[in-house]
Amino acid sequence: MGFDRELLKGSIALLILKLLSERDMYGYEIIQESLRRSHDAFEFKEGTLYPALHQLHKRGYLRTEWRTGGNGKQRKYYGLTPAGRKAARRSEQEWFSFTGVVNAILSKAHS
């Protein structure tokens, strides 16, 4: 399913932070996980995901580590820093408040 780019822009960081709050992942794994959870409705584009990961790393929300996987391949894993955990909680709260307000307005408009 295609979503409006502007609509997605504000939620990319939240999605990444939320996924990484559960476990460390590498880029490809984040894409697969978001596909699985959204039942193939949402897929991160590489051109969106990797620059966003680097931006969050620059802000100090993510730490990185190269690890060797089971097949012997080196992959760059991302995980949350303490600042990243705080940011994830804050963003999630903001998101629920925001969507609550939007839903309230939309449901009034429909009724």
């Binding site: 880029g27 490809y28 590489e46 051109g47 969106t48 990797y50 680097h54 931006q55 080196q74 760059k76």
Partner: protein
């Protein structure tokens, strides 16, 4: 180089990431991602060639990914450029001071004048040293900003020259001509160095001096030794060229 490596290289080249290490790390990360995509396609039954083609399609346009990376690292890139430009200007000014100081010392020895008093007077020529560096480096900066158009490349030099003319006219109205001529000589020297014709660049510094002779003549205090002025400027331009080459080899290579 495989086709997938080529995609990664295109992203890295266009992304203009600050620092070789970061470039290598992003390249490895993207390459690993492409390998995962290929593996996924193979597991779905595609042969190697089709899997690579599908992976490339899924990966997206290298230009778009590069543009997104470039935007993330733009502040670091500009900070690096400012530091590099400052280092280049500082090194260039030092070189000019050493070259002109050496030429003047040799001239003082030849004229049987005391070297120490000659060297003490050098600090008075600060405007001149700054002007030589500014003339040369402004044209070099223009070349980097507008590599395909000489007219546009000269724009920073023209603008800076006009600004310096205004500053010198206010700060040192009696002696404004010499640093301005030095500025023009250095920019002109750099201009003719671009032509890569043997010895032609020597005329780059001579031409503005000849024009100054016609226009200002007696206004230039040390005009009694025009060859000395020319020699100092010419050797300075040659030394600045080497500094710029060193700068490109050592500092700019880090951006590649």
């Amino acid at each position: 180089m495989t086709h997938l490596d080529d995609i990664v290289t295109r992203v890295i080249l266009r992304a203009k990431l600050p620092g070789r290490k970061r470039g290598r790390e992003v390249a490895e990360e993207l390459r690993a991602h492409l390998d995962d995509l290929v593996e996924e396609m193979r597991s779905q039954g595609y042969d190697d060639e089709a899997a690579a083609r599908m992976a490339r399609m899924r990966f997206g346009e290298p230009q778009e990914i590069a543009a997104a990376f470039a935007s993330v690292y733009a502040p670091e890139r500009w900070a690096r450029r400012i530091v590099q430009a400052t280092l280049l200007c500082a090194a260039s000014t030092m070189v000019v001071v050493v070259v002109v100081g050496t030429v003047q010392s040799i001239a003082a020895i030849c004229a049987a004048q005391p070297i120490l008093s000659t060297l003490r007077e050098i600090y008075q020529e600060g405007f001149g040293f700054g002007a030589i560096t500014a003339g040369y480096c402004s044209l070099y900066a223009g070349e980097r900003l507008f590599p395909t158009s000489l007219a546009k490349a000269a724009l920073p030099s023209v603008v800076l020259g006009l600004c310096l003319a205004a500053v010198f006219a206010c700060a040192i109205p009696q002696h404004a001509a010499l640093p301005l001529v030095a500025f023009a000589c250095a920019a002109s020297g750099r201009l003719l160095q671009r032509l890569e014709m043997p010895f032609l660049w020597l005329a780059g510094t001579a031409l503005p001096l000849l024009i100054a002779w016609v226009l200002f003549g007696p206004l230039i205090p040390c005009w009694e030794f025009p060859w000395l002025v020319w020699l100092g400027l010419t050797i300075s331009c040659k030394a600045l060229r080497e500094i710029v080459r060193l700068f490109e080899r050592v500092l700019l290579a880090d951006l590649a």
